[in-house]
């Protein structure tokens, strides 16, 4: 049924469709006119523009964010690099230009040809990088001859620069060209082929803050490819500045004290877990990675038996040696298997089954209580504790002190280490736990595996009242103008399974290690500040004394300390691989660092 209105409406609809038709004609007419204008009126101009595309879009690299030490001194910055590039389309005669260029820069023409070959298949208007880091003299030469070198352009780009070379290289990390795998990831969506990204250390973990956003400009270029007119420009967005908690001065001291011996040194503030210095030796120069690292350099680093790229602070695993006696003592006190006054007699060895386990002191220590046992590091005393406790109770306390799990420091590839339990032993070796192994574990030898950082955090927790912290190294992140965007707060990881009374006892004992005349850590003694610490010597392999003198099999030296004894403001761990005894090889290193720390603190530097 069509009402009167319906037919009226339909008539109206037809009128409106007429309007729509008119709109189509209008829009198409307009578009037609526009096309006429572009293709006919202006066609010749655009044809010329297209035949030689004079308009280039060029990236303006955003410099990478600065990394500063706690006092604002630059640890990682940028330097300008002048690169010589060639735009093949502008060169007209490629061979001639490359020969001339090779002559000017005294390069072998085959070298340039090789670079050109590598870029085959790319659009001819894209610049090919021929030579990076051109000297000022050569730059001048190229500029004066630029009319003879059509297509040759100079690009100035910021390159990562570490002014102190190898200093703190493991913490700072290094860069590398972005890999295809990384490019495919979502968090790298703003990156392009050929970009450099952090591959380790702070450079890697803070990548998203350190990377600015590249700007770009459109440039009109002349026939030899030189910019004559900038048509539009977007400035790069500078990256953030990252202030670390480490002190350049203390870091220097730590590295100098360690010297070229392979090992690790870390200093932290035990009150919150901030890292004051972190050194691993041998080191590498991260500047090598700021451009593509040359293959001889890379081969050298990767084939070095000492593994300079490895951060020993978080990635090396060794038995803790006698530094672990703290854990055994804590377990024994808390479990009530001994009192501070319980004594054992040490005659130089301990019988277990058919084997006899020696104390490091051949004649023995005589009657030994807790205090003396820790101060003189008597093995027999701890064999006794170990056999009373059994492996699993020691393991429980070891885990309570943070061993066997990563400290969760924000660094790549941190090792969790190993705390042996009877269950683990059965799974690993297929036989029940051997009571002799308990003795090894009780004095920190055998299957125990720890990183220097884990050891340090455990001692720091003892010093600060019992809080186990996650170590951190970023103090704040600020915009390039200095506006802070993020400040870091300490992250508690747990509480030590230790009463305040026992904690006080153990601190006293550790103080005795350094300050009592019979203590093993006397070489860390300082007159103006009371240091407390523990030495350790980690056996490399169970072999005779004679062989142990050669470097490869020499024991690892440990020393871990904090100062002042009460209300500690610094805690230090030192590992010297194959350094021998902890007291002689490692303790002096810690002493230098603590002493320097006091000087700096006096000067308001820490």
């Amino acid at each position: 049924m069509r009402s009167e209105f319906d037919s009226f409406y339909d008539k109206q609809l037809h009128t409106r469709l007429g309007v729509a038709y008119f709109a189509v004609v209008l829009v198409f007419g307009l578009l037609g006119l526009r096309l006429w204008f572009l293709q006919m009126a202006e066609g010749a101009k655009y044809r010329k523009l297209s035949e030689h595309n004079y308009i280039r879009i060029q990236k303006i690299k955003a410099p990478r964010g600065l990394i500063l030490d706690t006092n604002g001194q630059v640890l990682a910055g940028n330097r300008p690099s002048f690169d010589i590039c060639l735009v093949p389309q502008d060169a007209r005669e490629l061979g001639l230009v490359t020969t001339r260029l090779a002559g000017l820069l005294s390069l072998e023409p085959p070298y340039l040809k090789q670079r050109m070959e590598k870029s085959r298949g790319r659009p001819p208007f894209e610049a090919i990088k021929l030579k990076t880091d051109v000297s000022r003299d050569n730059l001048g030469l190229v500029l004066t001859h630029r009319l003879d070198l059509p297509g040759v352009v100079i690009e100035a780009i910021p390159v990562r620069y570490y002014p102190h070379g190898t200093l703190a290289c493991h913490l700072l990390g290094h860069l590398g060209e972005i890999s295809l795998r990384e490019l495919a990831r979502d968090d790298f969506s703003l990156y392009a082929m050929g970009d450099f990204v952090g591959k380790s250390g702070v450079e890697q973990t803070m990548e998203r803050h350190l990377k600015g956003i590249d700007g770009q400009y459109q440039a009109e270029v002349d026939a030899v490819g030189y910019k004559i007119n900038t048509m539009g420009r977007v400035d790069p967005v500078p990256a953030h500045t990252i202030t670390l908690t480490i002190s350049l001065e203390l870091q220097k001291t730590a590295e100098e004290a360690l010297g070229d011996r392979p090992g690790a040194v870390i200093a932290i503030d035990p009150r919150d877990g901030r890292i004051l210095a972190m050194a691993s030796s041998p080191a590498f120069d991260p500047n090598l990675f700021s451009r593509n690292i040359s293959s001889p350099d890379w081969e050298l680093l990767i084939n070095d038996p000492q593994h300079p790229l490895m951060n020993r602070c978080t990635q090396s695993l060794h038995p803790p040696g006698s530094t672990y006696k703290l854990i055994t003592a804590a377990a024994a006190l808390e479990e009530g298997v001994v009192t501070p006054h319980t004594s054992f007699f040490c005659n130089g060895s301990f019988r277990c089954g058919r084997r006899s386990y020696r104390c490091w002191k051949e004649g023995g220590h005589g009657m030994v209580s807790l205090m003396k046992g820790v101060v003189e590091s008597c093995d027999v005393y701890f064999y006794n504790l170990g056999s009373l406790l059994g492996p699993d109770r020691i393991a429980t306390y070891a885990k309570g002190f943070g061993f066997g799990a990563p400290t969760k420091i924000e660094l790549e590839d941190e090792k969790p280490g190993l705390v042996p339990t009877s269950g683990w032993y059965r799974a690993r070796f297929g036989i029940p736990w051997q009571s002799g192994d308990t003795l090894s574990v009780a004095i920190g030898q055998g299957a125990n595996q720890i990183t220097p950082l884990q050891l340090l955090m455990a001692y720091a927790a003892l010093a600060n009242g019992g809080t186990l912290y996650t170590p951190f190294y970023v103090e704040k992140i600020a915009s390039a103008e200095g506006e802070p965007t993020k400040r870091f707060v300490p992250i508690p990881r747990g509480q030590l399974p230790l009463s305040n009374k026992n904690r006080g006892l153990l601190i006293e004992a550790l103080s005795g290690v350094v300050n009592s005349p019979s203590g093993t850590g006397g070489r860390a003694r300082l007159s103006h500040i009371e240091v407390a610490g523990k030495t350790g010597t980690a056996q490399v392999v169970g072999i005779g004394k004679a062989l142990r003198q050669s470097t490869v099999f020499k024991d690892h030296a440990w020393f871990v300390a904090f100062a002042p004894k009460n209300e500690a403001r610094i805690a230090v761990v030192v590992l010297v691989e194959h350094g021998g005894h902890g007291g002689s090889a490692a303790a002096p290193v810690a002493k230098k660092i603590i002493s320097r720390f006091c000087e700096l603190e006096g000067g308001g530097y820490v």
């Binding site: 409406y9 469709l17 578009l31 096309l35 572009l38 066609g43 297209s50």
Partner: protein, 366 residues
């Protein structure tokens, strides 16, 4: 099975035009990927050819079902569309910061393309059923507005701002054509303006960032400005007869961005010149005027409305895309029907063709 009259009323001209344009599009795509042909095993033009075969088949399926039957299921169909949009957001394949694609077996599919058509079906069904004594009033617009907003919102989230904008354009121009009182058009427009910011609060952080990045005038305008310049150079340099097939330097050297999707026309105009551009324009004009003619001829108001809606989809897409590549409008990602690469776009264009033929074919059947 088919009424003889149906076949005699089949619009061969529209069908041939659509097929011709699709083939020109494939030809153009061949040129677009000619440069990289050596190292691509499955180039765009070949994929598009497969899509065309599927599209024509789908189109015939659409033709064979009376549009009245189809529109009886309009609400259901649009519901399916919305569901697919939602699915794309939840389980879709993230591509370049957007979530527009739904993976079905080996195919990827953009539900937003489909949603334009189902929305038109829904709007037409609704308006053809409302009994009106005078003109439609604002109250009559609640349901369709809600449907449009919902669709818009889902597409906006992806974010596919080009298509989202298109949905609104289609809705408003549709409303205008079916004649709402002018006062109500203003009210409707204002309510849209008020509602739009509310959508913001429903966005996730990363979606807000995407939208902001899209709207950011700084970087976007420079990049877009560069693309616009390159596109104009490409078109202009074609001059009267063009540089010839496979000879377009702008496109072969890849100055043109997205030369196989949004900027296909620039490539066409560069290689075939003003003459070629005019040929395409005339073909588009033919399709659009056919759609309008079918709207007038349709047997009922439903048919008219559907034809009007489909006309609007094509009209807005063609005119926005062409204005964009010729530098008359800022760059928004809207593909050119028939010519741009893309399975979802081609299939939906052919569904439109099928529906139009469907309406025309049945105009004398009562």
């Amino acid at each position: 099975m088919f009424d003889r009259r149906l076949i005699s009323n089949f619009d061969w001209v529209l069908f041939a035009t659509a097929l011709g344009m699709s083939i020109l599009g494939i030809l153009n795509l061949y040129s677009a990927c000619y440069f990289s042909l050596a190292h691509t095993s499955n180039p765009y033009y070949l994929k598009q050819l497969y899509w065309l075969v599927i599209s024509v088949f789908v189109s015939f399926v659409v033709i064979s079902v009376d549009y009245q039957v189809l529109s009886q299921r309009a609400y259901l169909l649009h519901g399916v569309s919305l569901f697919l949009l939602l699915a794309a957001l939840v389980v879709g394949k993230p591509t370049a910061g957007t979530q527009r694609w739904l993976q079905l077996g080996g195919f990827s599919f953009q539900p937003s393309e489909l949603s334009k058509i189902t929305l038109v079906l829904l709007l037409s069904r609704y308006f053809s059923e409302v009994t009106v004594s005078k003109y439609y009033t604002l109250r009559d617009f609640c349901v369709p507005l809600l449907a449009t907003l919902l669709t818009f919102f889902l597409v906006f989230l992806e974010p596919d701002l080009g298509t989202a904008g298109l949905l609104f354009l289609i809705f408003f121009s549709f409303v205008f054509l079916v004649r709402l009182v002018f006062k109500h058009i203003v009210q409707l427009f204002l309510s849209g303006v008020v509602l739009l910011p509310c959508a913001w609060f429903f966005l996730e952080d990363y979606q807000k960032r995407r939208v902001l990045a899209f709207l950011n005038p700084g970087k976007a305008s420079l990049e877009a400005g560069y693309h616009a310049i390159q596109s104009k150079i490409a078109i202009g340099s074609g001059m009267l007869f063009g540089k010839g097939f496979l000879n377009g330097t702008q496109s072969q050297l890849r100055f043109l961005p997205e030369q196989h999707t949004d900027f296909v026309f620039s490539m066409w105009a560069e290689e075939w010149g003003f003459v070629g551009a005019m040929v395409l324009m005339v073909l588009f004009f033919l399709v659009l005027s056919k759609a309008l003619k079918f709207a007038v001829q349709a047997r009922d108001r439903l048919g008219s409305f559907i034809a009007i809606g489909l006309f609007l989809i094509l009209f807005w897409q063609v005119s926005i895309n062409l204005s964009m590549v010729t530098g008359l409008l800022p760059i928004v990602g809207v593909p050119l029907p028939f010519i741009s690469y893309g399975g979802s776009s081609l299939i939906s264009t052919w569904v439109i063709v099928g529906l139009l033929i469907n309406i025309k074919m049945r105009r004398l059947m009562f």
